[in-house]
Amino acid sequence: MEKHILQELAAIVAPLPVLSAPEEMLVYECDGHTLDKAAPSAVAFPTTTEQVVAIVKLASKYGLPFVARGAGTGLSGGALALDGGFIIEMCRMNKILEIDYVNQRAVVQPGLVNLHLSLAVADTGYYYAPDPSSQGACTIGGNVAENSGGPHTLKYGVTTNHVLGLEVVLPDGAVVHVGGPTLDTPGYDLTGLFVGSEGTFGIVTQVTVRLLRKPQAWKTIVAFFASVDAASNAVSGIIGAGIIPAALEMMDNLAIQAVEAAIQAGLPLDAGALLLIELDGIADGMAEDAARIATICQQHGCKGVRIARDEAERALLWKGRKEAFGAVGRLSPNYYTHDGVIPRTRLPEALRRLQQISATYGLRIANVFHAGDGNLHPLVLYDERDAEEVKRVLQAGEAILRTCVDLGGVLSGEHGIGLEKKNCMPWLFTDDDLEVMYRLRQVFNPRQLCNPGKIIPLRGRCRCGAVTTDDTVTPAVREAVTAAMEGAHVHP
């Protein structure tokens, strides 16, 4: 990149430095999707909306592409600077600006870490519901871009159900406000449209979110089954009986082994599958619902049910679930995380087909996923040093996504399309469907400088990667939360 452009960029964000040395760019050449790489020319860390505007205008002046990036935990290459240009790293805009407990709202900057918001309001009895497994690292702005989910979205919905309004810098540098603290803003629901647009419509600089009261009570149940089939049928049984737990997660045997090795929670290593089921809400009636769930599990051949006795055991079980991807890393040098969705009644069939795919391609597949939503996360184990195996991994990945589409499902439940799956889009969408999406993007991003080359197929391959993070509240995290809260306007 020409030196004078870097100087102009540096002047915008001064005194913070702009990164542009080739070795510094290595960190930014991919996000959690590690199979594709492309280095940006420069990385800047804005601290205000005005700086974001100035950076966007600078990029526009020189016709340079730019990509906003949160924590880089995304799993579909959304934060990858495919055509080079600027990465606008939002992590310095990580303040909580306002907390309004009466109206159960908060206004935050996009670089705020998801978990830090829940921690900041925890003592007052509130939390922010969307809880992706990477919530200890990923940012609210990144969540907005990807419309992130998490285990508890079965009952509470995904990011889009919790975002009320946004301040956005459009690719031409205009600042607009969509939605707001109040509901039913007249006109088109641009907030809903922005959420999940994967950073291709503009850069979010402020987010108004809902806060929820913490549930009065929880019950966390683990049920063990001899087979994945039996566990899948139990899932359909529970949903079909009209019980919507807060979370309904499944792990297969391979995942159980990995998780047990990591957390030593006493999970039976010979179980074919387990369901991690959480009820939450008011205490009244919860014991009855738990009993009903246990009965349904038994009707489907459950080998044992365990109910977490205390908060410590509950936390341990969830630690196992949230770190399961990382734990699977113990089984193999590399693994490749998929994210497909199927109608939940097709679970048994889907998992049988996954076993066939595993056999066909000679690859081990571990399953840790949101069974209640029908949101599969097959983890395909491999060794990246084996080029031939990598090839089979990609083929198996394609077969997995084809299966989801065949069964009436979709390509992604929470990780997004990004670069990774854009070439699979025609499996689901016609040219006319894609043209509507394309034209819509043209409205926001007519020069295609803002996160180019994502979602709508033009080039690239269909494949995946993964990352994990640690959710433990360390003193450093505490410190970060305190710093984020500094200067926040709090309405008690």
């Binding site: 309004d100 009466v102 109206n103 709202r105 009895g125 419309n147 989910g149 919905g157 995904v158 159900n161 607009v176 406000h177 603290p181 109040t182 509901l183 039913d184 007249p186 006109g187 088109y188 629901d189 907030t191 809903g192 449209l193 959420v195 999940g196 647009s197 009261r213 549930p215 009570a217 359909s236 949903i239 009209g242 809400g281 008011i282 009244d284 969705v341 109608p343 939940r344 009644t345 949101h370 939503d373 029908g374 009436g408 499902g409 979709v410 439940g413 929470e414 399309i417 889009m425 689901l428 016609t430 006319d432 469907d433 509507v436 034209r439 819509l440 043209q442 409205v443 926001f444 979602i455």
Partner: protein, 459 residues
């Protein structure tokens, strides 16, 4: 032969003469008193596509229509060439109870769908004030909502996928049939509440919920507006499965009492809380509510009402009818209804300001709010619907707009005499995102033929 006559002839060959209305038989399809040149009732998506292609060819304006129960929403159109009804698209295309999802055509009537779903112990968690003709497609296009939105959200929260027809007759889709989906842009959100200005909804997939095992409704009289804030704040913070929290002023209570035959508080305001669960659960929640409210230092002692069984049903269906304003759906409604959205905390003071404006007016204005969601409906009586006092109503609107602005809310005039609509922006002033909205409209409907002029900012 005029252009429109040519279109009518062409349409007749698509839908058949029995499914095309022209001339004198179109009066009941008038929009704000503006009669359409013709009304077409295509039998299926293929006919719908043909109709739209012909409308494009003849450059006719197209006004999509569901059951016609909410056509009063929006600005008055200048000219109506073609009303395009989805009412013959009546099939339920898929329903797998264990998936808790269903796919229906847009013309399926809401009441009939709920009836089918209740057979499996499920429901579509939307409860706007509807009529027997209200269709699912129309509900989503107008984004109407009801008290249960507090717990279940609105159309945007239950809609999983849509199939729409573009203005040039192409069938395109958004979302899917699964409950979690980030595959491509979330166009569902764009179509919800877009009033048919972008495309015409022909199929919908919705997420369903299990019917709650039971419900209980508690009404609490509130003598003074200063008591409202602590009461609201207390209720929303209690551990409850609270699906509705409504606020009524005395005029609304009086009207509801007359409509339902129930006894309601004669206090300045009344709060209504509805909780759900098994009988044991609702009982303990009711107890918790009462105890918490009794601990509050209020200006007057609490007055409590509980409604069970048929009384409870009467109460909620009466409230729906009242919110909707059953009387008069044409261009001359008996009340002007303004819907404002505010923060819940602003509601008590806002209501009081509205009451003060209304104090000089006769008869009284009714206020019905989905208090927990900050949505408030102010209903201003129109003295002589046939010849409304436009000056007076506009003055009231101006005063109301002042309150909305002071409390940083937004408002929509849901219903008003046409003579009033002609002098005001029914959707309120657009925000700084309006340029985007205009560009989106131009991208979807470049010739500006879909429901033109009816939406925000003249879209």
């Amino acid at each position: 032969m005029s252009t429109l006559e040519g279109l009518a002839t062409a349409l007749e060959s698509v839908v058949g003469s029995t499914h095309l209305r022209t001339n004198t038989t179109v009066a009941e399809y008038a929009i704000d008193g503006v009669p359409p040149a013709m009304v077409a009732f295509p039998a299926d998506a293929a006919q719908m596509a043909d109709v739209l292609r012909l409308a494009a060819e003849y450059q006719a304006t197209v006004f999509p229509r569901g059951g016609g129960s909410h056509t009063f929403i929006g600005q008055t159109p200048a000219r109506v060439d073609l009303v395009l009804s989805v009412q013959r698209l009546q099939r339920q295309l898929a329903y797998e109870p264990a998936d808790l999802t269903t796919t229906v055509q847009a013309g399926v009537r809401f009441a009939e769908l709920q009836h089918i779903l209740s057979g499996s112990g499920q429901f579509l968690a939307l409860d706007p004030p509807v009529t027997t003709t209200t269709t699912i497609g129309g509900m989503v296009a107008t984004n109407v909502s009801g008290p249960r939105r507090l717990l279940y959200g609105t159309a945007r929260d239950v809609l999983l996928g849509l199939t729409v027809m573009t203005s040039d007759g192409r069938r395109t889709k958004a979302g899917g049939r699964v409950v979690k989906n980030v595959t491509g842009y979330d166009l569902n959100k764009l179509y919800v509440g877009s009033l048919g200005t972008l495309a015409i909804i022909i199929e919908l997939t919705c997420k369903l919920h299990p019917l709650p095992p039971g419900e209980a409704t508690l009404g609490v009289g509130c003598a003074h507006h200063t008591d409202l804030r602590p009461m609201l704040q207390t209720i929303v913070q209690l551990p409850l499965r609270l699906n509705s929290l409504e606020l009524l002023n005395a005029a609304a209570c009086e009207a509801l009492a007359a409509h339902t035959g129930l006894t309601l508080a004669d206090t300045a305001y009344m709060l209504i809380a509805r909780v759900e669960g098994t009988p044991a659960m609702t009982q303990s929640q009711e107890q918790r509510l009462i105890e918490a409210l009794q601990r509050l230092p209020l200006t007057r002692p609490l007055r409590l009402h509980t409604w069970k069984d048929t009384e409870q049903e009467r109460f909620w269906s009466g409230l729906g009818a009242l919110t909707r304003g059953e009387s008069g759906t044409g261009p001359s409604p008996e009340a002007m209804v303004v819907k404002a959205s505010l923060l819940m905390s602003a509601l008590p003071a806002f209501c009081q300001e509205v009451q003060e404006i209304a104090a000089q007016a006769e008869p009284a204005w009714s206020i019905i709010a989905h208090a927990g969601s900050g949505i408030i409906y102010v209903s201003i009586p129109v003295h002589n619907p046939a010849g409304p006092d436009v000056e007076r109503l506009l003055a009231h609107l101006l005063a109301l707009d002042g309150c909305v602005a002071r409390w940083q809310g937004r408002r929509v005039i849901e219903r008003a005499p046409v003579a009033v609509k002609q002098h005001c922006q029914v959707w309120g002033p657009p925000g700084d995102d309006f340029a985007l909205m205009r560009a989106i409209k131009a991208s979807f409907d470049p010739q500006h033929r879909l429901n033109p002029g009816r939406f925000i900012g003249g879209l």
